[in-house]
Assembly symmetry: D2
Homo-oligomer: 334 residues x 4
């Protein structure tokens, strides 16, 4: 049994997914790709023997396409996701579900009216072995109730044009999702603190920052967001519970003893760090769809994450605590 | 050459110091002890062959006493320190220098009028090998300018009667001092966040908390203060600089592989964790005094730390950011 | 493009492989299985829709079968591998290639007469990310020439009937292969030392042992073989070079702080530890065969490993150093 | 109460001890020093206000000298130790007790005839916190009976003139003592294996080597002796017991994240690694002597260690296993 999918968007993220689907995901075939940059779409599509469209809506309408992966720019996510819902096709939409709360709500309402979920949002960290072990430890009662969560999210560098609000919407958005999923509760407020600015930050970027999140049950979450840290891609988490703490383990690799030091590697970027997570995300999505289920991060998760991110961006400007207000959770996401 | 000292206060802290002085500090002799609890003072003093006083002022006035260590309750520190200054005797005063800003300022002014420093405050972490290596790394430019500092300060449990403000004045006060010393700059604001309360906290204690400190140059410092963490005495620091981070190493000990796990020890309390630091503090103080110098944490450090602690305590109540205002730094502490 | 394979042997190892092939290996289909236990073969074969044979030779002869995986008991490996060679079909033979040197030589000679390699032996550690990073470090000159290699090979427990020679032929055989591959040179002598016997060893088993291997260029290799270690499946390696050492990193997982200790997990068995390596082995074998290549551990590796193992077993009895003599290496394996 | 001691030998080791005694050991005074190099003895002795002798025997005879520390070259240890015994003065003799078995036996016999021990041999590792925790774990039954012991003894480099037998008598001799002490049993045989020679070894030195020791109860001990390892002073131990293993923890210090790596320090030499152990050794010796006891490594330990070292040196030449034969243990050392 093989799932025939179409991929909307053949930029870097789309190409990554297509290559991964072809090389290492089972029971799936990429039968169509689309991009407004038709030439790029052709080059990528030809590599995997897929039909090529300039318009994502035509791809969604293609009868051969049973499910859709959306990897086009964020502002287009709403329209393609709604098109998939209209066509009754399961869709894996790269994060964000949509860049604004209103756009997210439109998707949410459309799906909430349906008998079952079709939309999954691409928060791949939930598929990482370390994060999963952490959640298993917490849910298994290993350290009692969660009280605090410390997160480090460091990138070696960012491309020119990376803006201060993107530190939230592009980077911390992952920590927002992990927090909600790991703790099983919503975030009710966000406060952003700007630290001393590194001289390695691109012009105009307030880097690094500390984002403080408060959950419905009072768990306090601090996220260090540092996108010009120079030394690597460094993701670290420590969850503090009533009787102990759980931390993500070091990435192992090989330990070297040399010239008066022992040393080990830090991943270079998110692809190296989360390559296995991306693959698990795709494989589980494919297998779920083949079984008729969508179980990963939902449109509700996409909406709630965008709502928290928007509050944090507002706090960046106002320099103050911003409360997060969510609509009632539709029954579909109970 | 031997320094003859008197110890004011023979409670737990005083006894610890006296035992350490007798067992493992060179070039020093405890010749006098005092306590309002005369019986306790006698028991302790007899153990080391010291003269015994009920009144600390008599001890300070004893001609045989060349220098004084104050380990009596915090509210008495001011009067004994002032007495030492009046007598021209070097004094190592356990933290805090005094419990209020005004009291600290009276000591500061008294000393600032003298030709050289006589007062040292007992912030022993500055004498810990790990903290020293961290400062050496930062000062040596190993990671560029400091941007953020993450601190964990966890105690297994606290005695009954421990109050919410003591989480600052008794515990975080060490992190305040380390921050100022490590970064070489003053703290200008404090904000306290209360996390979800652990069910293991004593009645009425808001435990754990996160204290956010901001320094003069914009370094952001977060201190987790958790005094009922159950699992041990756990002090961890990570300093984030422009090109890398510096962390306190794990305490080594012996690593065990057993029953499906590898495991290593966490210290039980501050005596186990900082025993070597206390000894180094005392030895360096004794040797400095014998050379005619006092080089450790100064009355200014004691004052500034109390000022920041007071701001943090105010923030605990107000639930808001409180600015720290310091008087001009006297020339003696330049 | 899909490779149609047959699996000889549907015992534990065969079932593991079949399950892994079905669940997580791409571009392969199991079209036939065989076992002398026909009922078991049927149950397993039906699960994946494969034809079922009682006789492995019939499976090899099946026109639908393009390549063969042999997972039957070791003493049958020779006959089935020879049958594959006669049929010109690529074969992945679980270790050992054959249990005796003579049997290995018969396979070697049969293949050496052919124009290209068809046989691969199932030494999966070469596909483990940690071992690969170690080899990359050594080959990249990170620590200069290799001088010593320390290996720990620990199993929690072994089934009844596990014999002293099986500590070599079943367990250390992996370390023999890794040594040859990692160092790129043959082993010329083996000496076995029996340590104090653990009270947890099954009746009659001399457990643990230390196996000393010497390579052609004088590298000294010590392998601790301990199959009743109780605490987990613990594989550790340290390679000592002229300017530094390379060690396999700890398996990461989640680090817990609790009850006076920090602790992390040790794998329970070889499936947990080497699951990813088995999968990489199968995927790379399938993809190689589809490209017309066999690049993994060769019949020569299978022969040389058996020769060293036989020397070590002899040393177990004689209690002395036994020299390994190899035939000339056929040109096919240059 | 202060112990007045004399130090025989003012070379590097003697100066180290004298400096440590003056700077950081309590209840002791160095009142006399001696060296055949009288000028050196004067320079060193004047620094601490000690009387100076050219002849160690005169120092031993000095009425002011209550106990003696011998740090002169190994071949002189016998005569000075015997002189101390004759004078009834406690003596701490640097390792070795004497360079030959016969010389050790003469000391042993002289002391065995006395009513109580006077001689301690300078095996300082027994005073290291890590080794002590390991012994405590083993003796406390944490991992059951000991079965194997893996030791790494690495020096960055050695001075010119360092010979192959000195790899045993100067370096491995510490591991021999630790093995006997940790396991509480004698070593009965030694076998030395020479590994591939590093290109960084001084002319004529067979470096590195593996020394295999067998104990009376069958525990197998392997010691890697590598004195030109280039990268630091690296001492690591793993004890394998019936239910688990105990390893020396990493030296902690500060962990740095930088340029794609995390890294921590390895000590540069034995002084950095064992500075605290040397101090504990001296302090405990002084305090023991003041109480009228000598409890550290005995003349028997010195003799047995030399006997094992001699067997290992013989094995270096013969390339074979050499049995260790000890005389009966005198009652004094029961």
């Amino acid at each position: 049994m093989t799932l025939r999918i179409g991929v909307v968007g053949t930029g870097m993220m789309g190409q990554d997914h297509i290559q991964r689907l072809a090389a290492s995901v089972l029971r799936v075939e990429v039968v169509a790709v689309s991009d407004v940059n038709l030439e790029q779409a052709k080059r990528v599509g030809d590599g995997v023997g897929a039909r090529v469209y300039a318009d994502g809506h035509e791809l969604v309408g293609d009868d051969q396409v049973e499910a859709v992966l959306i990897a086009s720019p964020g502002f287009t996510h709403e329209e393609f996701t709604l098109a998939c819902l209209a066509a009754g096709k399961p869709v894996l939409c790269e994060k964000p579900l949509a860049p604004t709360i209103d756009a997210c709500l439109r998707v949410l309402e459309a799906e909430a009216a349906m008998p079952r979920r079709l939309v999954q949002v691409g928060f791949m960290r939930r598929y990482d072995a370390g994060f999963r072990a952490m959640k298993e430890g917490l849910d298994g009662g290993q350290v009692g109730q969660a009280l605090l969560l410390h997160c480090r999210h460091r990138n070696a560098a960012v491309p020119p044009g990376f803006t201060t609000d993107m530190m939230i919407t592009d980077s911390v958005v992952h920590d927002i999702d992990v927090t909600r999923w790991l703790l099983g509760q919503e975030i009710v407020a966000a406060t952003v603190y700007k630290a001393r600015r590194t001289s390695h930050a691109p012009e105009g970027l307030a880097d690094p920052q500390m984002v403080l999140l408060e959950t419905a049950e009072g768990v306090l979450v601090d996220v260090e967001s540092f996108v010009s840290c120079q030394f690597g891609y460094d993701i670290r988490y420590e969850l503090v519970g009533e009787t102990g703490t759980l931390s993500l383990g070091e990435q192992s690799g090989v330990l070297v003893r040399q010239q008066g030091q022992y040393h080990g590697p830090i991943p270079a970027d998110y692809r190296e760090r989360f390559g296995d997570a991306y693959q698990a995300e795709l494989q589980e999505w494919v297998d779920g769809v083949l079984r008729g289920e969508v179980t990963g991060p939902s449109a509700w998760d996409g909406y709630a994450t965008t709502a928290v991110a928007e509050a944090a961006v507002e706090s960046q400007t106002k320099g103050d605590r911003v409360v997060v207000e969510l609509v009632d959770r539709p029954a579909l996401y109970a």
